[in-house]
Amino acid sequence: MSYRIALTAITLRELRRFLSQRGRFFAALVRPLVWLVVFAAGFRAALGLSIIPPYQTYITYEVYITPGLCGMILLFAGMQNALSLVYDREMGTMRLLLSSPLPRPFILFAKLFAGTVVAVAQVYAFLVVALLIGVDIPLSGLAFILPALILSGMMLGSLGLLLSATISRLENFAGVMNFVIFPMFFLSTALYPLWKMAESSPLLRDICAMNPFSHAVELIRFALYGQIAPVPLLVVLGCGAVFFALAVFFYDPRRGLQRSKA
């Protein structure tokens, strides 16, 4: 009972804060839209797409990258949340949480869940705009992708928490961008299907196939068409559990304490 009360309160707080910061909302929306409108327009001509599951017909490139861009929103949000959780920006409120009688793994889980809910809200805002500008995605898919978005968001948030809790040299967001977000995003199935990658290099294809982010994107892609992709589902669940367990193990609030003292 007290866990449910706390989880609801932590999630509501995150949503209220997000809604009160409109700038953050628009910034989060603009990034994937620029990709969808500008990048996809350029690549449409360059990339021929064959019919691959879950698609049953030829699709436009915009349709192909939409699940990837949903994943991108979750990836960025996950990393940003994790960083703010570890470093001083949220240190004051983190202290309040950590000194409550709730167990630490639950607190971290609740923070990740709350961050994921906010990220999922951003994904839906993006999808609404995508529909409005004419990207052909099934309306029913909007309901089906919810569990996929939450699982993927939790997995990416846990990864972010693990990274920021362990790698002290990646101190700023730029470092995480260059060494984690960009490689994860570009070496995945978000922008190109695996067979397209294989045309240029089998090694690249193998890296893409192993990248947990690819599995998150595929989970979302299949869910958008009402299908469950079993392998991506298992990978996302498994990686999520491992990342989270490691993050809890390595999380150390002293890091923030020492920084705020310095």
Partner: protein
Amino acid sequence: MSGLNIADVSFNYGAKRALDGVSLTAGPGRFTALLGPNGAGKSTLFALISGLIATRRGRVLIEGFDIATNPRAALSRLGIVFQAQTLDLDLTVRHNLRYFGALHGMSGKELDQRIDAAMDRLDMRDRLGERAAELNGGHRRRMEIARALLHRPSVLVLDEPTVGLDVASRMAITRHVHDLAADEGLAVFWATHLVDEISDGDDLVLLHKGRVLAAGQAGALRGQVLLNDWFLGQTRVPA
């Protein structure tokens, strides 16, 4: 064992010793001041008391519950006011208080009644709907103290709670917390480096370079000299 008991606590940041065999007690109904210059180890001691960092040597007991072995029981009996401000400035006063209450398992009508009563005591009930950012520094601090008491703890610890406040707010808050100890029987543990916040009847623990230099009633400790002079004399670094 009631109140706050700290027994032989030591703590290192890497090779640097922050606390060295610290033992002290803050009893119920008493205002116990932890006096020490900057860098004495006050904040580290607070991080240990609030369970933010784990004790490696020694024990921290809150109402007899060890923070290391029974953190839930210990923390549910502890109210904390941190030195750094921990309000969500974007949220309203009521939302801030509700959020905290929920972390302690409270919700619904009972929580709202406690919030109303707490704000009545501070004469701030009409400001529940305002954003925390609209309150001045003194009011924010009072609200944080009220928040720390929502779950009715037996021990209240405050880490330099008057930092950055003007003289009038500082005095009002110091008086308010003295009253809480006397009227409600709370064990108050108040860290400060400002001697004018301490009365002769208060218990005093002097912390310097991670060690307890002196402990006892403030009036008895200072004797005939001013508390300020006594403090400077005790913590003077030989030139």
